[in-house]
């Protein structure tokens, strides 16, 4: 067995048994990155030396009997998490060669638990996108390709495209991502891996470059539901440095993966049955519900009546917050500064931000600035906040009838680079099934459940009650067992 083929849980067992060392495991993943990254571009920065040093330290600790929960596990870190001493770009030119002197809470907790960081994963610039095409460091290629058209490069989804691609291509055992409107779940589905956006407040946002503060949430990618559960446990927990972080206990998520779904009530929201939805997505959805039914769960049709307003609401709230969050990138204190002799402050701002931000980021800053402007605030931002409350209420009412909700993760399989890129609104539609969980602050998990006619992975999404990731993991694991997803991407380590 190739070391990159381990699951995370499998690797932990092999390390514990001494079947493999952290150095061997890390070396194998660094080799995979070296071989595949020139093509896939999943990593912006590879920290091979630090990774090897950390792996040696891990082996030493394990030898001393001091192994920590993730001792020696090689991971990719989305380049939106600040990592002390390691360049953090948010895939934007404007951060230049920014090297944070501090570590984000989530990555600090992973390091505390013994993880080995391989490098910083590519993403859409400032996490704004569903394709990873907006990265200033170039697009990421999806390791999967169409059966009939293997030469056409597909997008990995976004914004955490590099994280999803790295895990799918076996360049890492797991990865961190962030999800503001679907940025973990959509790329997980496109790349045939598992990803979970936990409840808002479950993971600290401290040290994560902010996109939309009320929606951003960190979460893990891995190749199994259990692996995600193991990672999420390390990433979670109250952080006094984030006022929106929840002071609630962190359960043993991995144990929840083994729970039976018998007797659970699974909600099927009728509003998620979209006109023109591909038949294979519809079929996959039905299949997933049948699997759960076979395991003893009950399926219940529910209504989430404000679903149709979710995308427009999201595309007001998220840009509004982003327009303010990104104001700090002004060329004054760190990052890129573009100026010419004689420039006044304002001209320096204009040059710096014109050169530093890509088109999609500029578009969202402008949308956000517009919806917050005097005379428009009530009509857009305030209205959106009211609709957001109604969307959350839809879910509250649903939880009276059901324990979890299952939907498709995305309205299609991965699309090709160049498709859907002319019209930003078409691109925004990718988030149609995922944004509601962000707006309501609920946990959502994407799990691969099948392939489309072209052999591309399709995912299902499980949404749960706030802080009930355990049920989400139980349902996700049940789908995973039934789907028995064994397909492999064409581009992968050891292939």
């Amino acid at each position: 067995m190739h070391p990159t083929d381990f699951t995370l849980a499998g690797a932990l067992a092999a390390l514990e048994e001494g079947a493999i060392s952290a150095v061997e495991l890390t070396r194998a993943h660094l080799d995979a990155i070296e071989a595949l990254n020139p093509r896939l571009n999943a990593f912006i920065t590879v920290t091979a030396e630090q990774a090897m040093a950390a792996a040696r330290e891990s082996d030493a600790r394990r030898a001393r009997g001091e192994a920590r929960p993730l001792e020696g596990i090689p991971l990719a870190v989305k380049d939106l998490f600040c990592t002390a001493g390691v360049r953090t770009t948010a895939a934007s030119r404007i951060l230049g060669n920014f090297v944070p002197p501090y570590e984000s809470t989530v990555t600090a907790q992973l390091l505390r638990d013994g993880a080995v960081f391989l490098g910083k994963a590519n993403l859409d610039e400032f996490a704004m996108g569903s394709s990873n095409l907006t990265s200033a460091f170039g697009p990421v290629e999806n390791p999967w390709s169409r059966r009939d058209d293997p030469e056409t490069k597909l997008v990995p989804g976004g914004s955490s495209g590099g994280s999803a691609a790295a895990v799918a291509a076996r360049m890492a055992l797991g990865a961190t991502g962030t999800d503001t409107g679907g940025s973990i779940r959509q790329p997980a589905a496109f790349c045939g891996v598992v990803g979970i956006k936990p409840t808002y407040g479950r993971c600290s946002r401290f040290g994560i470059v902010a996109f939309a503060s009320s929606l951003d949430q960190a979460g893990p990618f891995a190749r199994t539901v259990e692996d995600c559960a193991i990672l999420l446990r390390s990433m979670s927990g109250h952080d006094p440095k984030d006022s929106t972080s929840a002071n609630v206990p962190v359960p043993d998520f991995a144990a929840a993966c083994k729970r039976s779904v018998k007797g659970l009530r699974i909600g099927v929201p009728k509003e998620y049955r979209l006109d023109g939805m591909p038949a294979e997505i519809e079929a996959l959805w039905r299949q997933g519900l049948d699997w759960l039914h076979a395991e003893g769960a009950e399926t219940v049709e529910i209504s989430l009546p404000h679903t149709k307003y979710a995308l427009p609401t999201y595309y007001i709230v998220a840009p509004a917050e982003a327009s303010s969050n990104l104001a700090r990138y002004d060329g004054v204190r760190y990052g890129l500064r573009v100026e010419e002799k004689g420039d006044d402050l304002r001209t320096m701002y204009e040059r710096t931000r014109a050169a530093g931000f890509g088109a999609e980021v500029k578009r969202r800053i402008m949308i956000g600035t517009y919806v917050l402007s005097a005379g428009y605030y009530e009509a857009y931002y305030l209205k959106a906040q009211k609709v957001r409350a109604l969307i959350a209420r839809d879910f509250d009412q649903a939880w009276e009838k059901v324990d979890a909700i299952v939907t498709p993760a995305t309205p299609s399989a991965a699309f090709a680079m160049g498709e859907k890129t002319d019209d930003p609104v078409t691109m925004y539609l990718n988030d149609v099934f995922t944004v509601t969980a962000n707006l309501a602050g609920l946990p959502g998990l994407a799990v691969p459940a099948g392939l489309d006619a072209q052999g591309l992975p399709l995912g299902l999404q499980v949404i749960g009650r706030a802080f009930d990731e355990e049920t989400v993991f139980a349902v996700g694991a049940a789908i995973e067992r039934a789907a028995d997803f064994k397909a492999l991407p064409r581009v992968r380590a050891g292939a």
């Binding site: 009320s214 984030d242 917050e321 327009s323 402050l345």
Partner: protein, 485 residues
């Protein structure tokens, strides 16, 4: 009720309408949303956390002590404490605003309506309404004079907690505005919520001024920004009112705008017009949940409030029998009041007041020292009063001893001992001196006995002189009267 203050224009009298927005720096060891220190005068950029500098991924966390200080201030202003308040972002770009927004309570302030009473020079009082008090972050400081072409930025102030206190447009004269600002400063210094140091910028005022004909409604107002002394506030109001009167009287229209006060020339000048006003795009800060206060905590803070100046003044008048003026002077600064109370404790409060307001204040002026660092401690001044009471010192001698205390810093007992200033109450010594004086001035004794009563003072003076001023005056009087029959 005093007559309405007016300024005389070419076409008749004009009334003034004035409201103040006061920015008071909260006394706290750390900033509003970060743990960085707040000491004044530190080297530039040495009290800056990554949060204050707007680094990527940094998040604000509210400082509980700053919230407590705002609540205490609200309680001191007899104001409504809002148990639910919220922080908004005020978005604008400037080099000394690292986040690109200021976190401020725009829509939902922590403190609502309140009132303070001011006393004017003619002794009348007036109530000034408080509209609101909210918490916000200060910005950094741009230094334009450090380099020929560049501006330097000092972020030490960035993120420091400010209370913005907004008044109703209730003031009608520069004096009222000055008295209001002085009163706010006094209350906050009593509470220990703002040190009130205007030179260091701990207290700054924006002044809204408009003028009107007597009996009219409000006309357009202008805001004069960032004034850092009570005197300048009063000057700026008059200058701005005169400017507006001239505009109206020339048939023009006062435009709503933001102005600055040129302290050198004593005029206001335009900073930006209404059209140039920023669109701050306020919205709730998504990094901060609403600030929800526990009512029990507010009550705990209320119980912990110190006695405030108005209550203390009333107590001085009621319990000590001080006149209103003396009581006002003594409570003006809490340090003065503390000094006075230590002197007065267990002694004659009126005598204590006279000494503090008379000899001590004079000594402070003369030595250019402050009540926090006085040349004579309250304890020593009290001891001096005790020496008068027990007859050791006469009033005259006491003044001499006090001057020696100012000079040497020694306690009164030591000075009395060293200089032998103890008053002579030995009747034998006094009688001897009286006999000597009367014998040496037989002619004057004859004149006195013939009815020239005024000469009694002369004899007293001669006896005191003979005894180097140390004789107990009452005993001298008594002995002389007896001797002169």
């Amino acid at each position: 009720m005093s007559a309405t203050y007016t300024l005389e224009g070419r076409t008749g009298p004009w009334e003034l309408v004035i409201g103040l927005e006061v920015h008071a720096q909260v006394v706290s060891n750390a900033k509003l949303f970060s743990g960085a220190a707040t000491a004044f005068g530190a080297e530039p950029n040495t009290q800056v956390s990554f949060i204050d500098a707007g680094f990527p991924g940094m998040l604000p966390v509210i400082n509980r002590e700053c919230v407590a200080q705002a609540i205490r201030t609200g309680l001191g202003l007899n104001a409504q404490i809002n148990l639910w308040s919220r922080f908004d972002r005020k978005n604008y770009f400037y080099a000394d605003l690292p986040q690109g927004y200021q976190i401020s309570q725009y829509a939902h302030p922590i403190v609502g309506k309140g009132a303070v009473e001011i006393t004017l020079s003619d002794g009348t009082t007036k109530t000034i309404g408080i509209t609101r008090l909210h918490l916000e972050q200060d910005a950094g400081k741009s230094l334009h004079d450090q380099h020929p072409t560049k501006t330097f930025v000092d972020l030490n102030r960035s993120g420091i907690a400010l209370m913005e206190i907004v008044s109703e447009p209730d003031m009608r004269s520069p004096e009222e505005a000055g008295a209001y600002l002085a009163k706010l400063r006094q209350i906050m210094r009593y509470l220990g919520t703002c040190d009130g140091n205007m030179e260091e910028g701990s207290l700054r005022a924006d002044v809204n001024v408009s003028v009107r004909r007597p009996g009219e409604g409000y006309r357009t107002r202008c805001e004069v920004k960032n004034i850092n002394s009570i005197r300048f506030v009063m000057q700026a109001i008059e200058a701005e009112a005169r400017r507006q009167i001239a505009v109206w009287e020339e048939g023009g229209e006062v435009e709503q705008e933001t102005r600055l006060f040129d302290t050198g020339r004593g005029v206001t000048r335009s900073m930006r017009s209404k059209e140039e006003a920023h669109d701050y795009r306020y919205f709730p800060d998504p990094d901060l949940p609403p600030l929800v206060l526990d009512e029990a905590w507010v009550e705990e803070l209320r119980r912990g409030l110190p006695e405030l100046p108005d209550a203390r003044k009333a107590r001085y008048m009621r319990d000590f029998g001080l006149p209103a003026y003396d009581a006002s002077v003594l409570v003006a600064e809490k340090e003065t009041a503390a000094y006075y109370e230590e002197v007065a404790r267990g002694r004659d409060p009126k005598l204590a007041a006279n000494w503090v307001m008379g000899d001590l204040f004079a000594a402070l002026n003369r030595t250019k020292r402050t009540i926090e660092d006085p040349p004579v401690s309250a304890r020593d001044l009290g001891a001096l009063l005790d020496l008068m009471k027990d007859g050791t010192l006469s009033g005259k001698l006491a003044k001499e001893v006090f001057e020696a205390m100012v000079e040497t810093g020694k306690p009164p007992g030591a000075i009395v001992e060293e200089r032998g200033l103890r008053q002579v109450t030995d009747t034998g010594a006094i009688e001897a001196a009286v006999s000597k004086v009367l014998a040496a001035n037989a002619d004057k004794v004859a004149e006195y006995k013939a009815g020239k009563d005024k000469l009694f003072g002369f004899f007293v003076g001669q006896v005191m002189k003979a005894m180097q001023g140390k004789a107990n005056p009452a005993l001298v009087n008594e002995t002389l009267k007896r001797a002169l029959g």
